[in-house]
Symmetry: C2
Subunit: 144 residues, 2 copies
């Protein structure tokens, strides 16, 4: 939980235990999942956002390669097992309330992170300004 | 959806429409929420992971300041409204299947992002290696 205000920490029962503990206590959601950000260790680029469950996280930590849980296929997924775009783990981080993860990785095939053939899944920008969410996107294909 | 294999794109009904469309078509989950990563524009650091709904996203785009949806308090939350750690939006990105967001921001108070007083919520690393998930964490407080 990022800071919003001091009052909220009390109101939501935060007592500092989870934020300051030196033990890993990952908190998965009702579906047993947790969001996970993959970051390129060399470039610092955000590569993708995916989901992990206990099994994917255990496989990641034991193998040193990023694993996720595929919600669409309902199975464990070693990133790059088919495409070759393996993600070697440099570091795994957890956030303050231990309900999100950050994988810092090196990528075997920079072009292969996104299934569209791009090096990141975040290749489109949303223009700022008031109004409906239905608005044009801009492609950032300089890094394609 | 990041790339896993070519077959999965077909198996899960991906036909390239959502990945290549030039229209913003955000896909919220069953609770009306979507995970959102906040990234420091100057340092490239991942600051936090939070959630947005339609209203939070509209407020973000129209005001130019990061808004989220507080699940614990069940209300719209302008980041920094109390703490002063406002996040001015530099850029908003969506991912390939439009079910995750990336806010690139400048922070008004670098120390205030996390409610623990740290500049990022991801201040603890999880050691690699086989075995149970119950393991010690390392604090990275150099940036505190």
């Amino acid at each position: 939980m990022p800071q919003d205000d001091e009052a909220s920490a009390t109101a939501t029962g935060h007592d500092g235990a989870i934020e300051e503990t030196g033990r890993f206590r990952p908190r998965f959601d009702a579906s047993g999942l947790m969001p996970c950000i993959a970051l390129d260790h060399q470039t610092g680029a955000v590569l993708m956002m995916a989901w992990v469950n206990v099994r994917a996280l255990e496989e990641t930590l034991s193998s040193g390669f990023a694993h996720y849980w595929s919600r669409s296929r309902n199975r464990l997924w070693k990133k790059g097992e088919t495409s070759g775009a393996l993600q070697r783990i440099v570091e795994v981080r957890t956030d303050c309330d231990q309900d999100a993860l950050l994988y810092r990785v090196t990528v075997a095939d920079p072009a292969g992170t996104c299934h569209t053939g791009r090096p990141t899944c975040f290749y489109r920008t949303v223009p700022l300004g008031p109004g409906d969410l239905d608005r044009p996107l801009s492609f950032d294909d300089a890094d394609r």
